[in-house]
């Protein structure tokens, strides 16, 4: 098989594979900054909670308007923001930490979502919402993904400084009147936008695959915030391309193939990355050469 048939033809000859690729690239582009900030804030698992938390909103949108991208996105957005804000409020107003409050609200939200979908829809609707169907992505779904991830990227760029200082030294921000709570709320909002975008393609269970795995892997290659974000985007996009090709040639479910490739990239980075990897730990370069 020629390189062209292996790598290029799937995208040029099949519209649904091309659309899936564009969706993956958009998700990776928004996922880089959001995933990096989630990792830096030690909120990796909270991102997961958020992505499951959108389920009842999506289900409600589905109940009201059927399988309409717009209604499901709007519902997901509202549910995700509600979970984020309620968990954030509990963490701010009581001594309980974010991890516990996020877990509490997302589990409740997930159960509510499953209840709603099974009451109204069929089993395959639930499967679709939970796991997504990347290769069934329609042009209007693609527009929703591109729109949401664009807002995410532009939003992160606009409030880059407060987002980073709120991670690094929230006390300084508070003392200087820098509104860390507002920065935090805006960040959660942007994260929900990215997740609702990713959900269209990957379903609620794997929406974070192209957000967290590349960001977690980037840590072993880069060491400034901007380069972590850039590396993460590149790794995510790469995993999207390779995963899609694997799914196409081996007839695998596309979303799962992509997340598996991203997982392999993560394991490879932990083992062989340029910084702080296992290789760097156990086979360090000679310290001093005479």
């Amino acid at each position: 098989m020629s390189v062209h048939a292996l790598v290029v033809a799937p995208f040029t000859e099949h519209g649904e594979v091309r659309r899936a690729l564009v969706g993956c690239l958009a998700i990776a582009l928004g996922g880089g900054p959001i995933g990096t900030l989630l990792v830096l804030r030690r909120m990796s698992l909270m991102g997961d909670s958020l992505s499951h938390g959108v389920l009842p909103g999506v289900a409600l949108g589905f109940l009201v308007a059927g399988p309409s991208i717009g209604a499901m996105s709007l519902g997901g957005l509202v549910a995700g923001l509600a979970v984020a804000l309620l968990s954030g409020l509990v963490a701010r107003l009581t001594p309980q930490h974010e991890d516990a409050s996020f877990a509490a609200f997302y589990l409740t939200s997930l159960a509510l979502g499953v209840l709603l979908v099974t009451r109204a829809g069929r089993d395959e609707d639930l499967v679709h919402i939970l796991f997504g169907d990347l290769l069934a992505l329609a042009p209007d779904g693609l527009i929703v993904i591109a729109g949401l991830t664009s807002v995410t990227v532009i939003g992160c760029a606009l409030i880059y400084r407060p987002l980073i200082v709120a991670c690094f030294d929230p006390q300084l921000l508070r003392a200087a009147g820098g509104r860390p709570a507002l920065a935090y709320a805006l960040f959660l909002g942007l994260a929900v936008l990215e997740l609702v975008g990713a959900f269209q393609a990957m379903g609620t269970l794997m929406a974070l695959g192209l957000v967290m795995l590349p960001a977690a892997a980037a840590r072993f290659w880069a060491r400034a915030v901007w380069s972590l974000m850039a590396t993460s985007v590149a790794l995510g996009a790469g995993a999207g391309v390779v995963g899609l090709l694997a799914a196409y040639h081996a007839d695998l479910p596309a979303g799962a193939a992509i997340v598996l490739v991203a997982g392999a990239v993560y394991v490879g980075s932990v083992a062989l990355g340029a910084r702080d990897s296992l290789r760097a730990r156990y086979f360090p370069r000679a310290h001093v050469r005479a």
Binding site: I159, V165, D169, A175, A176, V225
Partner: protein, 244 residues
Amino acid sequence: MIALRDLTVAYEGHPAVHHLSGVFETGSLTAVVGPNGAGKSTLLRVLAGMARPAAGRLERSAAHERITYLPQLPEIDRFFPISVLDTVLLGYWHAVGWFRGIDAHQREQALHALATVGLAGFAQRPIATLSAGQFQRVLFARLILQNAAALLLDEPFTAIDARTTRDLTALIEAWHRDGRTVIAVLHDLEHVRRHFPQTLLLARECIDWGPTERVLTAANLQRATQMSQAWDPHAEFCAPVAAR
């Protein structure tokens, strides 16, 4: 000046320092000393505006609107991927806020501040590579850029070596000569006697406040220790002074 009028501050709902009255004069250099649990950090948080007084009043002159505060355990992520220079530049937050850019002059001032604290050449180093003493120097460089009329330092020399303590003490003395008001929580009484003209000795209430040689007497220190051993975490708020 920063004036305390019958100030009571509370920690987690329980009064930590009772009925404190007095004035930190503009340009004064004061050490706050006392046993653990005496309420020193809580008082500093209230002075910094990070916590509200439980009772009484806190008055600041117009010149003391902007106060900088160096907490005992800053919530800073020491392994965050950020350079020494960027960390110091955050001292300009009051001038740049969320959106304004950093100009060449500010960058130059930041490099100058790094040189002042003995870290010339460290600008591009990630903060994760610094020792505890070097990191404290970075925070002092940031205090220089914050350029506030009053500085509150909570145990700035805990776990810091002698040489760094000496260098940073010289910086505090320079701030004092500039006419800034400096209030520092400290434990090393010899250090206080040598460098701090004023002392506030606390043990949940004011044992004494004034010139250091008058305050740090054996009798006062013994009283402070006894007071703090009588610490009751469930203490109720006492009746207003007028009613007693």
